[in-house]
């Protein structure tokens, strides 16, 4: 199922799966909920870098820049 959602299957297998999904409601529900799970992960927010980390990284660069 995941390979289907990720477009990692060849065309004929995709068509077989799609034909099955048309007939089997339980599998259709299963595929739809899995697809939504992946979509929600892809929408996960990106946090800003905290000032404390920026400071630590500047200090690290400063230390390494010393000859």
């Amino acid at each position: 199922m995941s390979e289907y959602l990720d477009n990692e299957l060849d065309g004929s297998l995709c068509r077989e799966i799609e034909a099955h999904l048309e007939r089997c409601h339980a599998c259709k529900v299963c595929m739809t909920t899995l697809q939504r799970t992946v979509a929600l992960c892809r929408q996960a927010g990106k946090a800003q870098v905290p000032d404390s980390l920026s400071r630590r990284l500047r200090e690290l660069i400063g230390t390494l820049a010393k000859p």
Binding site: Q43, G45, L53, S54
Partner: protein
């Protein structure tokens, strides 16, 4: 080592920076931090769930990147190399922090217990438009569920579904075969779907 191995590939967005690093590696450190600090911090947050641990991970990753920049041989994209370092540090840290062996996720645990448990209708969280279901509470639920995943599944899910690496790239980063990446990703997704389903069923 051949000359070809030393030339950054044209498809690598960091190629120019890496060329500059050959003559003066220290001069490129600030730009490397600017390019990757946010991505690595978010990777750390998804993997550790605690800001302090994520910060440690980012600092340790950059320390290793700066230390071993000379050894980067362009066999992969620079971004993949950085994530390889970050993932390896993260996995080592988490192994040290606990003694329990890592849980395996089996496909069986995601199968319906009996015929009656098979869902017959698409639930609202999967049927409504994405922007109508995606709120802060759901984000927190999802983040908590990701943190519940055993490490080896979580790292694959984060690389594939959050960071957007391909199956092949994730395999290179984690030293796994593409088949292994696919198996772990599928089980991780089933686990998350199960958690989301329970959340909505309990509503």
């Amino acid at each position: 080592m051949s000359e070809a191995n030393r030339c950054p590939t044209k498809s690598d967005p960091d190629a120019e920076l890496l060329r500059a690093a050959r003559s003066d590696p220290r001069a490129v450190f600030p730009e490397l931090v600017r390019r990757y600090e946010r991505a690595l911090y978010n990777f750390g947050m998804k993997m550790c769930g605690v800001a302090g641990d994520a910060e440690d991970l980012v600092q340790d990753t950059f320390l290793n990147v700066f230390r071993y920049l000379d050894g980067f041989r362009n066999e992969t994209k620079f971004k993949n190399w950085i994530y390889r370092i970050a993932a390896s540090i993260c996995i080592k840290k988490r192994r040290k922090s606990k003694y329990a062996p890592e849980r395996e996720l089996s496909l069986d645990e995601f199968l319906p217990a009996d015929e009656a448990a098979v869902e017959q209708a698409v639930p609202s969280w999967a049927a409504l438009p994405l922007d109508r279901v995606l709120n802060n509470e759901l984000r927190h639920r999802l983040e908590a569920a990701i943190l519940e995943l055993p490490d080896k599944y979580r790292v694959v899910l984060v690389l594939r579904d959050i960071e957007g690496f391909s199956t092949e790239e994730s395999g290179q980063i984690l030293n796994l075969t593409p088949a292994n990446v696919k198996v772990r990703l599928h089980r991780a997704r089933l686990f998350l779907r199960d958690r989301l389903k329970s959340y909505y069923d309990d509503e």
